[in-house]
Symmetry: C2
DNA sequence: TTTCTATTTAGAATTATTCCAAGTATTGAC
DNA sequence: GTCAATACTTGGAATAATTCTAAATAGAAA
């Protein structure tokens, strides 16, 4: 479904960064590839740990900087579901996020066909650039990792 | 539009808390009234500062506890729009949140008529309890407080 | 090359949230 | 009502998450 990534990210990212006046750097590319290669929803700290595996000299500050740059140029989404750390999502297809209030995991969920996005009344006072839809609840059935935060009822 | 509140919150809140097995306390009532009396979207810290004005002995830990209790029993919504502190909203009418990426302020925006919520495909794997819709962009026109984070273009 | 600016880095600093242990209040059983 | 059990509150310490800073480096422009 998603176009396969690792080789394509260079040129693509380069162009997207340039459009926003941001420079293409090896750190930003690396952070992007970390996000593409494992499409769960890691926090900045998790991205940092993964990034260090093949680029041990990268710093936490640079991970934050890179994540901000990737979000700003529109190749990554920042996901805020609770009081914990922000998470990052490299799936730019239109989708919503389901957050299990028991285990804390975040899953992509597809929006059903039209209307894909809610019609909102912003009556000229706001210029909307992005819509984030977060669903809260609990995973049903067999969620193996569930119960981290507290066991399901 | 919203039923006027300060006198009504006691019994109402008492019942909602009881439904979840939570106790009614003066602190929780007070935090709730703080949220009802100024319907912007304060952070826990802002709630703490407001709450202290008429109840100086209240603690930060209790504010967090109370906010959690109010959210859990469904009389307050927790709003997470970015990496900053969570915000709290006592407007339980169906609405979405617009967050200005320049000034950081959060505004209630109404969803247009049906379908009010997006149809999502959760195919039996998730039990959805709540849907949070956050719009990002920038306020247009005359937003006096805008430019705190950085000036509009 | 020289200059200018953006980016990276380590670590300090700050902010946000949670944890803890002791005291207090509330509930339910008797 | 008394008593025990449990929930809640409190201040402060601890932790987690994010931002800041100042110096070094790298990239782009002149
Ligand atoms: Mn996602
Ligand atoms: Mn609101
Ligand atoms: Zn779960
Ligand atoms: Zn604004």
């Amino acid at each position: 479904m998603a176009t396969d990534h690792l080789p394509v990210s260079g040129d693509f990212l380069n162009q997207r960064l340039a459009e926003k006046g941001l420079r293409f750097t090896s750190q930003r590319q690396h952070v992007y590839e970390v996000l593409l290669s494992q499409r769960d929803h890691p926090s900045a700290d998790e991205v940092f740990m993964r990034a260090k595996q093949s680029k041990p000299e990268i710093s936490m500050a640079t991970v934050y900087n890179s994540l901000d740059a990737l979000v700003k140029c529109g190749v990554v989404r920042q996901v805020n579901v609770d009081r914990g750390a922000s998470m990052y999502c490299s799936n730019m297809n239109e989708h919503a996020h389901f957050c299990c209030d028991d285990c804390g995991k975040v899953f992509d969920v597809n929006l059903k066909d039209s209307p894909r996005v809610p019609e909102v009344d912003v009556s000229g006072k706001f210029e909307v650039r992005q819509i984030d839809i977060a669903l809260h609840g609990r995973c049903t059935g067999t969620c193996e990792d569930c119960g981290r935060r507290e066991a399901h009822a």
